[in-house]
Symmetry: C2
Subunit: 185 residues, 2 copies
Amino acid sequence: MRLPVPLPKSYRLLNHGPTVLVSSAHGDRRNVMAAAWSMPLDFDPPKIAVVIDKQTLTRELVDASGEFVLNVPTRALAKATVQVGSNSGRDGDKFAEYGLATFAGSKVAAPLLEGCVGWLECRVIQEPHNQSRYDLFIGEVVAAWAEAEAFKDGHWQPEADLRSIHYIAGGAFFETGKGFQVDAE
Amino acid sequence: MRLPVPLPKSYRLLNHGPTVLVSSAHGDRRNVMAAAWSMPLDFDPPKIAVVIDKQTLTRELVDASGEFVLNVPTRALAKATVQVGSNSGRDGDKFAEYGLATFAGSKVAAPLLEGCVGWLECRVIQEPHNQSRYDLFIGEVVAAWAEAEAFKDGHWQPEADLRSIHYIAGGAFFETGKGFQVDAE
């Protein structure tokens, strides 16, 4: 069951460093790519940072629309994550090619990917110098969602079978492992 | 055994999203804090991004020195990670208080923390607008090191007992889990 995540808790979907899929749309074009380089940037209003290379179709669609979605995939989508990270949407629709189903978000036109455990709908905060020099985009999170089995009441469920994934390189990932609690007293 | 990491591979120390400890020094002052919000930003020359709050002593030392180190801790340092993330170095030397041993880096004066599995020595690329508006720092990685048991020849060792950690919130972490390989063909 997919539930909304209160915006001030939405940073937690990224806080542990998962690899994400960046989806985008403009007019009748849409795309999805993989990004290991994203992070939270602020709590409230929530902001995130993500690197979107100049040469990608995603960049073109994000520049045109001012919007994107960060989708947090699970291991079932690991192969698709590598595939959409290795191929360009300019060569054909990646959703069709890799069998990726989508659903509509609430605040942005970019599609949300089925089978993920978290979704952050984002609007670009225009910072042309960062975008041009570093391919660095800052987004305000305007809506967030999570699969309740994996994340609910503002918390990842440490024993859930549905887990995010963490990209290393060359098709290699780490799974998110066991949760543990530290008493800092 | 600690080995140098070739700079173009150093992004891999952060690519999977571990929580890091940010160490800093200026004159005879030094500090360490925790940061869940960091990411690679470029391959070669390698750059990283990290959020350093304005109110921290770390910020003062980084602003004064133009340098910092990102240390990648293991579970053995999880309690210390929460402690140095919850207390200010203005109230006393956190290295002494939490029993954190250090060693010297090769390019920066900030201390490197014993017991970590990766170290990124960084020099700030001055971006005053990002620093002021978003607490966002961009650093060039000028030297990198890894514990060979955990990371060698440019690769994390997926079966190593020494693993990085991923902060959730409220003293809760995920361990880095099992490594797995995807064939994207």
